[in-house]
């Protein structure tokens, strides 16, 4: 039944991740970190908006790398993705909502 399917898939996903693969992921993440630091050092040259854009993309890539390959969320049972992605969505909502609300106090109850 369906559960077995996921579970075989699950097993394969792990065989796929050989030691060499982990080293590669690690290398990529290291490179990303280096770039992050690099652009931080030249941030005045490239302008704030571009700096932020690149930085966000890089760190999202970095986080995604850790979650998908080191934590094996990619290819693992779907339930794990659910219990991680749903709160992550709430978390992002919370962060953005709070930053908006606290950016400026209207001062009218209405």
């Amino acid at each position: 039944m369906a559960e077995h399917a996921t579970h075989d898939h699950h097993a394969e996903a792990h065989e796929a991740h050989s030691t060499r693969f982990y080293w590669m992921v690690g290398a990529v993440l290291a490179v990303i970190t280096t770039i992050e630091v690099a652009i931080f050092l030249v941030k005045d040259a490239i302008g704030h908006e571009l700096f932020l854009a690149i930085l966000f993309l890089l760190s999202i890539a970095k986080g995604a790398g850790v979650v998908m390959f080191f934590m094996h969320l990619r290819g693992d049972a779907r339930i794990f993705q659910f219990v991680f992605v749903v709160p992550l969505t709430f978390a992002v909502t919370l962060c953005l909502a709070f930053l908006t609300i606290f950016s400026h106090h209207v001062g009218i109850a209405g």
Binding site: H105, G107, I108, A109, G110
Partner: protein, 360 residues
Amino acid sequence: MRKEARKSAMPLLVLVLSCAAMLAGCANLPATTLYPYGDHATRILDLMTPVFWMAVGVFVVVQAALVYTVMRFRSRQVNAPVPTQVHGNTNIEIMWTIAPAIILLVISVLTFRTQAANSYQPPEAMKIRAISHQWWFEFQYDDGSIVTASDLYIPVGQSVQIQLEAADVMHNFWIPKLAGKTYMIPGKTNYLAFKANEAGIFRAFCAEFCGESHGNMRFRVIALDAAEFAKWKTNYATNPPTPSGTLQVIGLTGDAARGAAIFANAKKQCISCHIINGTEAKGKIGPNLTHYGSRQTIAAGVLPYSTENLAKWLHDPASVKPGNLMGRVIKKGMLSDQEIADLVAYLDGMKLAVNLPAEK
């Protein structure tokens, strides 16, 4: 049969009570939200009324459906046959998903209209600053040139914009008959604009729990006709006359002049907290006591104003209003009865010549 009667008793009782509620609501009580005298509160009532009737409608329909179902299908024999096993019906589900959605849409639209009207801040509105303290309200006019407390004087027929601030903890500014609540938040400034339609004295409260004497934090709003209001303002701006005359209180003869001396006497502590315009009293901690004789209440709405109550307050502030600051300084017996009588004579002597409207 008796069971049925009992089962139907419950919603019946609720209906009776809600009728009682409506009747009770019809009475013009001191703080009811159902007898507005201000535009802000009136618009809220105009929104509340249709919503209330929709609510009653929904209530009656659903409760009736519930009671009818239970009574009609109550098991009548011990081993009745297994009823038909109905598992659901998508069309019905969709229907009763949409039906409430429509009602809510209507309510929302009405709501947004009222929000727009009530949050509008008229540029021509008269600006008044309200600062909440544990546990009393301070009011400032004309950038602080007029400072008073516990009585908020406003003109009738002109929009006022209250600038709401808090000196210590969070408070909530509520004049049920004039406007809905707005919080007074330390570190933030809120604004509430409303207009009184009729002259009158209105009850008002702090509605947010703000510590020990939250229950004792009230004030009065006094709406005066434009002319009368102008008069009040000019009178208030002029310093009180030099104290003179005597007053019979708590069986003693209080002397205003002596009272003034006691008040000014640093040892008696009054001036370390209170201001009286045109005197040496420059304390900023407590309420400004200028023209105190015209106050509607004593200790921020705890006692109605009277020379007896004022004496009672001065005798032992802590017992009148638990936890208040003055009670920590002026302990029972620190002022002799004669001193109290003199102080009362002094404070009561400072009266403004203003014709006050009736309580509404």
